[in-house]
């Protein structure tokens, strides 16, 4: 399994994204850590790298504006990889993100083990 990990837009927080990258690597996932990326770049990287999973971190509040662009970019390229989002996501924003196509939201305080369990459940090389 290959996962792409990126920080959305101009957000400056790396701690969560780095923790996710390390946790995924520890469970045998091939991780491509890209740092700060904009929607088009994320979609293009997902296509070029054949990513099985896209993990996006945002604490700036830009998710409402940038995530729809990510999905448009992925759709335009026919990329089917699930997108999960982590960071400072207010609970009231979660339904809209799910409706947009976000596979799961790992908000503040949700342990990395939840993400690991999610990855194991997802069809692919690491699932049961």
């Amino acid at each position: 399994m290959k996962a792409l990990v990126a920080i959305l837009g101009l957000d400056s927080h790396w701690r969560g994204a780095v923790a996710v990258a390390r946790a995924l690597r520890a469970m045998g996932v091939e991780v491509l850590y890209l740092g700060n990326q904009f929607p088009e770049e994320i979609a293009e990287a997902a296509l070029q790298e054949g990513a099985d999973l896209v993990c996006l971190s945002t604490l700036s509040g830009s998710h409402g504006e940038l995530l729809p662009e990510v999905f448009r970019g992925l759709a335009a390229r026919g990329v089917q990889a699930p997108v999960v989002v982590g960071g400072a996501i207010p609970p009231q924003d979660v339904p809209a993100l799910r409706a947009m196509g976000v596979a799961d939201v790992f908000g503040p305080g949700r342990p990395l083990e939840d993400l690991a369990a999610w990855v194991r459940r997802t069809p692919g090389p690491l699932s049961g």
Partner: protein, 559 residues
Amino acid sequence: MTERGDGDDREGIERERRRWLTERYAATPERAPRFETVSGLPLPPLATPADLAGQDWLGVLGFPGAPPYTRGAHPTMYRSRLPTVRPLAGFGTPEDTNARFRFLLAQGATGLSLTFDYPTLRGYDSDDPEARADAGKGGVAVDCLEDVEVLFDGIPVDRISVSLVTCNPGMAIVLLAMYVATARRRGLVPDCLAGTSQNDFLMETAVTTARRALPPAGAFRLECDTIEWAVRHLPRWNPVSFVGYNLRETGATAVEELAFCFTHARAVLRELGRRGLGVDAAAPRLSFFFSAHRTFFEEIAKYRAARRLWHRMVTEEFGATESRAGILRFHVQTSGVTLTAQQPLNNAVRAAYQALAALLGGAQSLHVAAHDEAYCLPTEGSARLAVRTQQIIQHESGVAEAVDPLGGAWLLEQLTDEIERRTRELCAEVEARGGIVGATESGWLHARLVASAEAYRAGVTGGRLPVVGLNCFTEGDEGLPEVFAQPPTTARQAARIRRVKATRDAARCARALDDLERVLATNETTFPAVTAAVEAGATLAEVHERFRARYGAWTLPLA
């Protein structure tokens, strides 16, 4: 030798302690295999005077306002002047943030602290396609001088101290130039300006991630340019605030927080010395920004150790003779990273005891984090509660009425000594790795922060670090009644940028920017050239283009 405190009979006390440990203490099992601070310092079951005996009391502790300042920066401390109530504010457009400033001052804030949005901190104008989704988020959008004039409209900048939380040096130099220019346009002499610039090259090279960060050495040069100019021309301005707080939020331990700040301050003092500013002129103008994290006594000890370390460093290493040079001054912010999204009202309690630690440790200025920080910027209500928290401690608890009230507490003095010892060791390691700039360029510093962050996360996940509402006592999460919505900003700022660019003297602006580029190629301080550019109507991004043309971009060695 004068013995410290009442440890006269050291051997007798030590003998009795051992006996007490085996005969009485050991009879009851402890509830955990070991006890330590969040930073991993061992916490002994009981400290006694024997832990401190044999030390020179006057040399190690002495009196507040006198060397080595362990017990406080000033003789009278809060009996003369209470700590500044300095809440953070910044979101949306300058108009939006100006309204919040007025609200905070009406609540009794005695200083202001201004945060900037992501594009501003990264050197983008709000109308840049890459900036539009982040404009006005996490702080206020500032693109040009007019923005700063609007921000401080009706705020008495000659009477209230203002902290510009500009993070990195490329941003700090532009914002301070705009602030000085704003004062001049009001007919004020810049001498009257009191406040602080956060101006720390570690912000974009180790603490946060940025797409177009300046490399460490280039950012360090701009940092020192601002400091040099302010030391010569702004007598009441602190042109740097070393970001211990941000290092700590990123993952650093208490010892790393101090060691990375002090090795950085040491590098600045050396560089200013090369520029002809001796330690007696430069050191009194350097200020520090520390965290108040979760282990109460560790934090209080950290502030006391920091004052002593600073005094010893500037006198022993740099030969300072001016007494102000050896007095460490610092602002404290309660720790955002210790707050939880779960049961968010609990955060008000955490912030209150962290604020108490800051005051017991002798902070000059304080920001209490709002309880909704895990999700959003503070609402008016949560910002008010945070201000009230500090006011209750300062005006009701009585802790502000005694100077260094915990001085002499055996446990605290022992922790203070331990933090000083470990910080010295780590400072030596940073020097061995090329000093703070070299250790950052090599990625060593960042790897250290990642490792400490991981240890903290593993501690929380594994339960070694209990977090109420998160990994224990989790029932009853009522969430937040209100989440602050950041106002749309991009269109309003883009309109102002268009107007400024259309009405400015384009030739003058271009000349000023070209002149900046010329100065960047020399060893002169760039501050006057940056000021001339912003006064000619140059935007933040236009100035930053010249910085990047000179220094290029640097990528944080991440993950």
